[in-house]
Symmetry: C2
Subunit: 410 residues, 2 copies
């Protein structure tokens, strides 16, 4: 079957620096604000929207609220009756919403779908929030009674790199510094006004305390409240939308390739499986190479930028070789050579990523996709990668259990 | 676009009378048992399965575990890397998994998908469980501080019927008695060994206490631990499967029609909206009529049975007129005339439904679909509807917020 193109029509990201818990606003208000913002940044009208798909990790825990899909219906009288659904795959929740929207569009079921990724996390104390995040792993085996399970699991990812290839933590500090630096150019980034430097990221102690193992505060992504709303559409709808906007269909980005895999849940099982393989996380690698092959890419050098899932500096370190910027285990070379910096040969996380822009868990997959859209349409403002024509995203859930990669281009 | 048929290849339901919390088993073990059972009841092999979609309402609350989709990967070495996803729409969670599986198959993305609906609920006390279920409604407005929010909301549904059309509660008692009677024929029904009679369902007091308003214990569906695994496939896969089984493609059921709608979240908004309309829940009605029209049905009399969402007797009372068995508000006629009984003109819930068979929330949509499959393949055993060729299912989430209807036939 010849695959139908699925187009991206832009969207809106809330300011990730806001604290919605302190603003005393319901998660529904955050979704609504993302939706209403998207009406201003696109020329989508309520009557265009045929379904709404919501990615969210754990509003049940953070907000004592399930059934998030249904809230969309309240946003406009035109939405009464609209099909809605909620998708969950831990930190990759909204990438799964994207996958399903793509399927519904290609199946001819809906021609324009609203996608919202959302998470309200600041309702919980750091300890409680860490425990909630533990449900993204195998809770009873990996998280119960562990103060911060995810820094521990992604610390171990660094340990595996150290054992197999060697790892100098100053490269992790550079990853942190680059993400924070990029975030300063992003008006929606959570850390845009925070002080950060490579020296600070290298430091250890009172002002950069250890969270778990080799993971220090500066190695971590943020606890973030945020939502993103964007639109996906069929080719006929995109063509009509292009006419409405006075642009050509060719100027609208579409999903050129995708890859989705699931690795065994437990991190120890992942590592055991990859023992004698070149890549530490072979299923993450496969999601990427599947996306490359569906998009007809030779390798990563056909890309102009990457938005990857840097929940910790170690996960970005992993992404560098898994995307193929270097041979396995040699990610430090791309860092040392400036390849991944804004202005480098293949910038990673021009937005600031999860470390700099923020990580509202269930929103991240759609946020990455919206940033890819902005890059390839030349609308990323100060964090624009020059002449970006093709951008990859990688959203991972759990300890790289769910892996979803998209290639966005025109 | 001509719509591709999506076939159902059978599956397996766990015994809904079991108490998995008391057995001290993880929700993953329940999913696994449903999956392994499905290998015995179908001729599906692990290598056939290209993706696994899991419907679950709130394992985060009941089991402190998210990311349920990923557990599937552990069930067989062949599943390493398999795309997985989890779907949530309150009590209609697994119907949303079915919708998405249908979309992926029709889009040509996967040719055979494993579907699991699962809920482990007996981990929580009745009060705590009632509170968790409250997250399926607008928690802060409808559930917080309310002892049992859902009996209250569905009691109000009865009140609306009473105000608009008149309602004699003995008809609700008959609905309960019929569901319990049917459940006695279902070897997987939770209540198959329970005492129940019409007189008992009519009684009120020490042995049939009031839960909220007009809702007594006998008007309620059960708190149930259970999982169901079944398979959906493309036409080419189903044809190959038919050859493997020595049967014809025409003997394999497929989804003939579907309807999916979302009503406003709050029950009061639903009722206000339908004030001057013939149907109390117009969006539930639309999900049904959309399914009829996609399946090319004239009306409900083209059906041989219905598996509906009787979370309370009032929701089945609503389903009777919304499916069109009677004029709006006249559901009592179909009850009085024996239409909905096993052996009647259009049996409802031959399985026993949510009241008799049980209601593991996130499993119910797939359980209904599996029962529809059993009916149209003549494999429903003692609760078989004679010569059933076409069966409808209705799965609702929240106070009839998410509504999904399927028509299954050959």
């Amino acid at each position: 079957m010849s695959e139908q193109k699925v187009y991206l029509l832009g969207g809106y990201q809330t300011d990730f620096a806001r604290n919605w818990a302190r603003e005393n606003k319901h998660i529904c208000a955050m979704m609504r604000e993302a939706y209403e913002g998207s009406l201003r940044t696109t020329r989508i009208e309520p009557a265009d929207i045929k379904a709404a798909f919501i990615g969210n990790f754990a509003a049940e825990l953070y907000c004592m609220q399930g059934h998030l899909g249904a809230f969309f219906v309240d946003f406009d009288p035109a939405f009464r009756g609209l099909p809605t659904s909620r998708f969950e795959g831990a930190c990759a929740s909204s990438a799964l919403a994207v996958m399903s929207a793509m399927a519904h569009i290609r199946a001819g079921m809906y021609d324009c779908i609203a996608l919202i990724g959302v998470e309200l996390m600041k309702t919980a104390s750091p300890a409680k929030g860490g425990d909630y995040l533990g449900t993204a792993a195998w809770y009873s085996r990996e998280s119960a009674g562990v103060e911060f399970p995810f820094p521990k699991l992604f610390g171990k990812l660094g340990d595996v790199y150290e054992e197999r290839f060697g790892l100098d933590d100053t490269y992790l500090a550079q990853i942190a510094a680059i993400n924070y630096a990029n975030a300063k150019l992003n008006p929606n980034a959570q850390t845009r006004d925070w002080f950060m430097s490579y020296d600070h990221a290298c430091s250890k102690g009172q002002y950069n305390s250890t969270v778990s193992g080799r993971i220090k505060v500066t190695d971590c992504s943020q606890i973030t409240d945020g939502a993103v709303c964007m639109y996906m559409a069929s080719a006929p709808f995109a063509a009509e939308y292009a006419r409405r906007c006075g642009i050509t269909l060719e100027s609208i980005p579409y999903i050129q390739g995708w890859g989705q895999t699931t690795a065994p849940m437990e991190f120890s099982a992942k590592v055991a499986e990859s023992e004698n393989q070149p890549f530490v996380l072979p299923w993450t690698r496969k999601a990427i190479t599947d996306a490359y092959s569906r998009a007809g890419l030779k390798d990563c050098w056909d890309l102009d930028a990457i938005e990857t899932h840097d929940c910790f500096t170690t996960s970005e370190y992993m992404a560098i070789d898994h995307f193929g910027l270097t041979a396995p285990g040699q990610s430090w070379r791309a860092i040392e050579e400036g390849v991944i910096e804004l202005g480098g040969k293949l910038p990673i996380n021009p937005s600031g990523g999860l470390i700099g822009c923020g990580h509202p868990v269930g929103a991240t997959g759609v946020r990455q996709l919206l940033d890819a859209y902005k890059q390839v349409t030349g609308t990323a403002g100060e964090y624009q990668v020059k002449n970006a024509r093709r951008v990859a995203t990688l959203n991972i859930g759990g300890s790289a259990t769910t892996n979803v990669c998209f290639i966005v281009g025109k």
